[in-house]
Symmetry: C2
Subunit: 457 residues, 2 copies
């Protein structure tokens, strides 16, 4: 087979701007609300948590925002990231579809997260901030911010969900190798953490609690700001470099996607691959190719497919603003499946908004089906995906098999957002038949949804 | 800083041939000897273990051997591999030296090993071989051959040193994800393994024993051949794609190395980075820039710096041919330090020969000094090296600090042969102060050297 399988973008073509989908939305996004007053918040309300440059990006309506040159310089360590044509996977599936995947596992942290960790660290460094606090589950985000902090001389404190801190010491070791401080959450370093430990000294922690701790630390220290790895508008915008590159690479390949697939936890890698394509459609009206955009989430944490589109808190301690999003309720605790990066009760407001507008579809699969897809992919293409990315692989395979059944040669693009080298224990469990599909508790979900904050219209 | 930090080679410039240093040696290599007769062996003696194409490469005196197109096609998944200028490390060290590193961690298995695993699997598949047997320690090689086997439909059986099999299940999970079968060695599937288990049912295993088992399986099954991840001439030749690419990339950078550094276990990644440069020197005589070539090995397994240049067996069971090499003796068991890829009693005959001819230097460092260097590198450059690669980082830093002391702006090139994402437990131990420098037993070394086979001149 002589067709090239990898499409390499020349460094000179690495995007110089992020794409801001806010400029092209047919209906504006609902504003975030203050957790106390329930009134729309302004930039100043966010100032204790973020440097002003990032706050202005959060609320910006400009279509493009320039990527600072020092940030692009760090990106050159691994960007432009490769786009591959999955010839071998197509053959293994016997599909007439063309499958392309963008691979973000080439970053030093092994996932797409440094695409936003680097600019966040840089803008904070420019604002004179000495320390960043953040939360992490399995550790993809924490290790990416630790990497970025090391490059710009910013101290990073990561609150890691205790159960992951205890069970998965490897990403913690990566954070510490980069010089970050990693604490198990709930911890005794915050009011929120102490209150939870007082009630239950053995509390396993949750992402919602870890966010509360990291936010509390940032809000109460002048030299410290907070950084979030997904959900927020500016974080999603930072990831659009993925889709912009993919668009140029597909031009090199002479193809245009019919279907774009990404996995969704908080929504950032999904937004990264698809927002530039959605924006093209929105600006082009009926003149541009109408593509299907498919978000794939875990059945055990199905915010887009089973959640409610409503105002909710981003954290358990209710310290964050309320945003309108697809949510399972901030008290909902997803079962402990392996795709830790997808275990969040909410969804990015921008992704939720697009779902509500009918511009994207959503589907959910259980983890064993996703691991099965990941192993098939690894044997065909040679790259072992992260458990999160396996959801995108599964979604792409479902589309490719539909094409086979329908005899259609569609072009499928998906985002392989990270490698699975830190997640081999999950693969070992899968191979040993020990991985089960954990259902969430329907009663707990009903209660969590019933407990959503009531917001005046 | 606006100087580019990454040098990307266009895919069209990926080397089309391997470089065979045998063609340029000023003194020919001593021949391998039959383990029974102690007479030089010919290609036919190797036929039970390897397909004829690889045997002909092993003994070839042709300067170049074409890389088959299907092999190059797989290489395109990650090659050409990037070359980086380590601006941030230079700054951290305050050195006037220019430091470049070639990064092989971008392969799907995370190291340079697929550079030879892919052609070995391909040549075997072409010869109609259904199964490959091999050995592995920590698992870098086993997982690379498993990856290559999956791509060409070859069944792979890996004998993994039992202590690693039990303690480090993650690379085993990677092998199994690629579809390979992984057995703890010593095992009850071979005569050699059964004999050792009969004497000691709890034997922790060793690389020498695992080689014996894999060789025995290949020698006793018609449809099975053996694959080795280092040491042999053809394996080292397959790695020369590294140095050839680096040479082109340094031309792009407008620099020519004064010092080239690589870590050495069996010798393959070191050969890969430096043989093309040494060949250039040998062919050019005094007309070419004379470079220093530095091999860095672990103090706890110092074959080049403390071993004897003599004929020895490659395995514990004495099933392999004898080769003339720097060896600590086939009964020598190195302490269990973390750079598992460097825990081998011998050294590639070609590397040993060049050392004996004075064409390369060798130096050894203890593991804590190497981890210290690796952490410094990670915080400056963003990439966490494998424990093996930390030895090359240490060697490069020593050269850079010498340049600082001497006020010289030399050009240093080193090979960063793999990432450390599978080795974070070692980093965690290092951070916790639990990593110690294990000395080998001087008496054991003396006995192992005294027990070297006696070979008639």
């Amino acid at each position: 087979m002589n067709t090239p399988t990898k499409f390499v973008l020349d460094e000179s073509k690495m995007p110089r701007d992020w794409y801001n989908i806010m400029a092209d939305l047919p209906v504006p996004l609902a504003p975030p609300l203050h957790p106390g007053t329930l009134q729309p918040i302004g930039p100043d309300d966010l100032a204790p948590l973020f440097p002003m440059e990032l706050i202005m990006q959060e609320v910006s309506a400009e279509r493009t925002v320039p990527i600072p040159e020092p940030v692009r310089e760090v990106f050159r360590l691994w960007r432009p990231a490769p786009l591959y044509r999955a010839h071998r996977l197509e053959k293994a599936l016997g599909t007439p579809a063309k499958i392309y995947y963008k691979y973000e596992g080439v970053s030093p942290a092994g996932s797409h997260k440094p695409n936003t960790a680097v600019p966040q660290a840089w803008y904070n460094a420019q604002a004179g901030i000495k320390r960043l606090s953040t939360e992490t589950g399995a550790g993809q985000w924490g290790s990416s911010l630790a990497f970025a902090g090391a490059l710009f001389g910013i101290e990073v404190t990561v609150y890691q969900v205790r159960v992951s801190y205890d069970q998965k010491p490897y990403r913690r070791a990566l954070m510490e190798t980069y010089g970050a401080k990693c604490l198990p959450s709930p911890s005794d370093t915050t009011n929120c953490g102490r209150a939870i430990l007082a009630a239950n000294p053995d509390h396993p922690g949750s992402l919602g609690i870890a966010i509360s701790e990291a936010v509390e630390v940032a809000a109460s220290h002048d030299d410290t700001k907070y950084a979030l790895g997904s959900v927020l508008n500016h974080v999603l915008m930072h990831q659009t470099i993925i889709g912009q590159e993919a668009m140029l690479q597909l031009e090199m390949a002479g193809d245009d996607p019919d279907v774009i697939v990404g996995c969704t936890g908080g929504g950032s890698n999904f937004a990264g691959i698809c927002f530039p394509f959605i924006g093209q459609q929105l600006r082009g009206g009926g003149r541009t190719k109408q593509r299907r955009i498919v978000a794939v989430e875990p059945s055990a944490c199905p915010s887009l497919t089973r959640g409610k589109f409503a105002y909710d808190f981003g954290d358990t301690g209710h310290l964050t603003p309320l945003t309108k999003m697809h949510t399972l309720g901030s008290t909902f605790t997803p079962p402990g499946f392996h795709a830790g990066g997808l275990r969040y009760h909410g969804m990015a407001p921008l992704v939720s908004h697009l779902k509500d507008l009918g511009l994207i579809e959503a589907t959910a699969y259980p983890q064993t089906a996703c691991f099965e897809a990941g192993v098939l992919f690894a044997r065909a293409e040679g790259i072992v995906p992260a458990p999160e990315a396996n959801h995108a692989v599964k979604g792409a395979i479902v589309e490719a098999l539909r094409c086979k059944a329908e005899g259609r040669s569609e072009v499928i693009l998906f985002n392989l957002c990270g490698h699975g080298h830190f997640d081999m224990s999950a693969y070992a469990n899968y191979a040993a038949g020990k991985l089960v599909d954990q259902a969430y508790d329907e009663n707990e979900l009903a209660m969590a949804l019933a407990g959503l904050p009531s917001v005046p219209a």
